[in-house]
C-alpha cells in the first residue's frame, strides 16, 4: 500500500470518527440544552428569589445584587422568608399536615393496592390483560374530572347522602365534601393506579411457587406472607409508595376542590401565596422548603429506578 493511500485512509477514518462523535454530541446536546434552560435554570431562579425581599413593584422582589455607594458589588441574601416560614405556626402546621395526609393516603393505597396487584398476577393471561387495562384506563382519563366525580358523590345533596336518606339510615345529610376525609378519599382514589402498577411489575417477576413451597412445608399463611412474600415484594412496595407519597405531599387540586377552605396542604398554600397574595419571595421559599422535605424520598426513588434499569 502506498504512503499516500495510507494517509488518505487514516484521514477518512479520522473524519468518520469525528462525524460520528459530532452526531453523538447532537443527540445528547439537544435535550441537554433544553433541560438546562427550562429545568435547571428556573430552579435557581426560584432559589434566588426565595432569598430576596418582597417589594411592591414589578417584579415584586428586591435584587440580590446591588451597587453600594462606593461602587462595590454587594450581594444581599435574606433569610427573612425562611425565618418567616419557621416562625409562623400556620406554615409549620401545614407542612406537618401535608406529610401526614400523604403518608396515611399512601398506607391506605398500599392496603387496597397490594391484594389487587396480587390477584391480577395470579389470574389467567387473558384475564390479566383485561384487568391491567382496567387499572391503566383511569390513569389515561382526566385527573381533574375524576376528582370532580367525587364532588357529585360527596356533596350534601350528593348521591351518597341521597341514597342514605332514601334508605332511611340517616335523616340529615352528613357533611363529607369540604372535609379532611374527602381529601384522603380523593388522594387514594387518584393515586391508587400508581401504587398497583409498580407492585404488579414487581410481583410479575417473582417466583410465585416459592411461597407455595413454604406452604407445602407446613408454614402458616401469615408466616409465609411475612417471611417470603413481603420481603420479596419490598422493591415494588417502596417504588409504589414513593410514587404516591411524593406527588400527594405537594398536591394542589384535590385539597382545593374536595377539602375546601379549611384544608391545609402545602401545595395549596404555595399556589395562593403566589397567585392571590402576589408574594413571590415567600412563595419561592415555600417551594424550596417543600423540596427540602421531598428531596430524600425523591433521591430514594431515583436510586431504585437506576438500580432497576441496570438489572
Amino acid at each position: 500500500m502506498s504512503e499516500a493511500s495510507q494517509i488518505s485512509n487514516s484521514l477518512v477514518k479520522n473524519l468518520s470518527y469525528k462525524l460520528q462523535s459530532s452526531w453523538k454530541t447532537l443527540v445528547v446536546g439537544i435535550p441537554y440544552i433544553w433541560l438546562f434552560i427550562f429545568f435547571l435554570v428556573p430552579f435557581f431562579i426560584v432559589l434566588k428569589i426565595s432569598f430576596a425581599e418582597s417589594l411592591i413593584a414589578s417584579p415584586p422582589f428586591s435584587s440580590l445584587f446591588q451597587w453600594a455607594e462606593d461602587g462595590a458589588l454587594q450581594i444581599r441574601v435574606l433569610f427573612d422568608n425562611f425565618a418567616y416560614l419557621w416562625e409562623d405556626e400556620l406554615y409549620i402546621t401545614t407542612y406537618i399536615n401535608s406529610v401526614k395526609v400523604a403518608f396515611i393516603s399512601t398506607l391506605i393505597c398500599l392496603i387496597i393496592g397490594y391484594p389487587m396487584a396480587y390477584a391480577i398476577v395470579r389470574s389467567s393471561p387473558t384475564k390479566k390483560n383485561i384487568l391491567l387495562m382496567l387499572i391503566i384506563l383511569p390513569f389515561w382519563t382526566s385527573f381533574l374530572l375524576r376528582v370532580y366525580a367525587w364532588m357529585g358523590l360527596l356533596a350534601d345533596q350528593g348521591t351518597i347522602n341521597n341514597l342514605l336518606i332514601w334508605l332511611g339510615i340517616i335523616d340529615q345529610p352528613i357533611r363529607m365534601l369540604y372535609t379532611q376525609f374527602a381529601v384522603y378519599l380523593g388522594i387514594v382514589y387518584s393515586y391508587l393506579p400508581f401504587m398497583i402498577l409498580p407492585l404488579y411489575a414487581n410481583m410479575e417477576k417473582l417466583d410465585i411457587t416459592l411461597h407455595e413451597a413454604a406452604a407445602d412445608l407446613g408454614a402458616k399463611p401469615i408466616t409465609t406472607f411475612l417471611t417470603v412474600t413481603l420481603p420479596m415484594t419490598m422493591p415494588g412496595i417502596i417504588a409504589g409508595s414513593l410514587l404516591v407519597f411524593i406527588p400527594a405531599t405537594g398536591e394542589y387540586v384535590i385539597p382545593d376542590l374536595l377539602g375546601g377552605g379549611n384544608s391545609l396542604m402545602i401545595g395549596k398554600v404555595l399556589y395562593n401565596e403566589f397567585n392571590n397574595n402576589h408574594d413571590w419571595p415567600v412563595a419561592s421559599a415555600v417551594a424550596i422548603a417543600l423540596l427540602i422535605v421531598l428531596v430524600a424520598p425523591m433521591m430514594l426513588y431515583q436510586h431504585i429506578q437506576s438500580k432497576e434499569s441496570e438489572s
Binding site: 395470579r122 389515561w140 345533596q157 391508587l192
Partner: protein, 288 residues
C-alpha cells in the same frame, strides 16, 4: 386455606375496581339528567350536551388544548427519544449524572414547583431579552415539553434495554454506516415505544391543570383551566356532559390501542413459531 386466601384477594380486586369505576359511571349517568341540580334526577335528556355544544368558550379551550397537546407530543417524543438513546447507548459521557438527574426529576417533581419555577423563568427572560412577550400557547407548550419528554425518555430507555444490541452490531459489521443502522435497525425497533410515548405525552398535556395555570396568560384558557374555573364553584351539569365525552373518547382509544398491541404480540409469537418450525424443517432436510 389457599382457597380462602384467593377469595379474599379476589374480593379485594372487585372492591378496588368498583371503587375506581363507580364514580365515573355515576358522572356519566348524571350527564343525561334533565335537572339543573346534578344529583337530583329529573328525567333523561340531552339538554346539557346541547348547552355544551353551543358554548364557544368550550370550543376555543378545546382547540387550544389540542394544539398544545399535538405540538408538545411531537417535540417531547423527538427529544425524549434522543435522551433515551443517549442514556442507554452512549455509556459514560461528560455530564451524564446531571443529565440523567435532569431527565428523571420532572417525573417526581411536585407540579406547583415546576409551574412556579417556569413562570419565574419566563418573567425573567421577558425582562432581559423581551421574549416571551406574552404568555399562552408558546409558554404552556414549552412547559409541557419539559415534563413530557421525561416520560418518553423512560419508555424509550426500557424499550432499548430490552432490545438486542447485537442486531445493530451485526449491521455495522456488515458495513452499514451509523446513519443507516439508525434508520434501518434502531428506529423501526423504537417505533412502538415512540408511538406509546407520543400518546402519553399527548394525554399528559391535555390533562395538565396546575402547570398550565401558572404559565398561561390572560385570555389563554386550556380545557382543564376552563373546567376548573367552573367546578370550583360547585357541580355543573354541562361539565358532566363534557366529562362523559372525554371519558368515552379516551376509553375507546385505550381499548383500541390495547387490542392492536395484543394482536401484534400474537402475530409476533406466531411468526416466531413459524420461523422455528422452518428451521426445524431445514435442519432435518440437511441431515437427511
Amino acid at each position: 386455606m389457599k382457597k380462602q386466601r384467593s377469595t379474599f384477594m379476589f374480593s379485594m380486586l372487585c372492591f378496588g375496581l368498583a371503587f375506581l369505576y363507580i364514580p365515573m359511571v355515576l358522572l356519566i349517568v348524571y350527564s343525561f339528567n334533565h335537572s339543573k341540580i346534578v344529583p337530583i334526577w329529573g328525567g333523561f335528556s340531552f339538554r346539557w350536551y346541547k348547552v355544551l355544544f353551543e358554548s364557544p368558550e368550550v370550543w376555543q379551550a378545546l382547540l387550544l388544548s389540542l394544539k398544545i397537546a399535538v405540538v408538545n407530543a411531537t417535540f417531547a417524543t423527538l427529544m425524549g427519544t434522543l435522551a433515551g438513546l443517549a442514556l442507554v447507548r452512549f455509556g459514560r459521557f461528560r455530564g451524564r449524572t446531571l443529565f440523567s438527574g435532569m431527565i428523571s426529576a420532572p417525573l417526581v417533581m411536585p407540579e406547583v414547583i415546576t409551574g412556579l419555577s417556569l413562570l419565574l423563568l419566563f418573567i425573567t427572560l421577558s425582562q432581559f431579552i423581551g421574549w416571551p412577550s406574552e404568555r399562552g400557547f408558546t409558554t404552556i407548550t414549552i412547559a409541557h415539553i419539559t415534563f413530557s419528554m421525561a416520560y418518553v425518555a423512560v419508555i424509550i430507555q426500557s424499550r432499548l434495554t430490552g432490545m438486542d444490541e447485537s442486531l445493530e452490531e451485526a449491521a455495522q459489521d456488515l458495513g452499514a454506516k451509523p446513519l443507516r443502522v439508525l434508520t434501518d435497525i434502531t428506529l423501526p425497533i423504537l417505533a412502538p415505544g415512540m408511538l406509546a410515548g407520543w400518546l402519553l405525552a399527548f394525554t399528559l398535556s391535555l390533562d395538565d391543570l396546575v402547570i398550565a395555570s401558572f404559565v398561561t396568560g390572560p385570555g389563554s384558557n386550556t380545557l382543564p383551566i376552563l373546567i376548573y374555573s367552573r367546578i370550583r364553584l360547585g357541580l355543573r351539569p354541562d361539565i358532566n356532559a363534557l366529562a362523559t365525552i372525554i371519558i368515552v373518547t379516551v376509553a375507546i382509544g385505550v381499548i383500541l390501542a390495547g387490542y392492536i398491541m395484543w394482536r401484534q404480540e400474537k402475530q409476533r409469537q406466531r411468526d416466531q413459531q413459524m420461523a422455528a418450525a422452518d428451521k426445524l424443517d431445514f435442519d432435518t432436510e440437511t441431515t437427511a
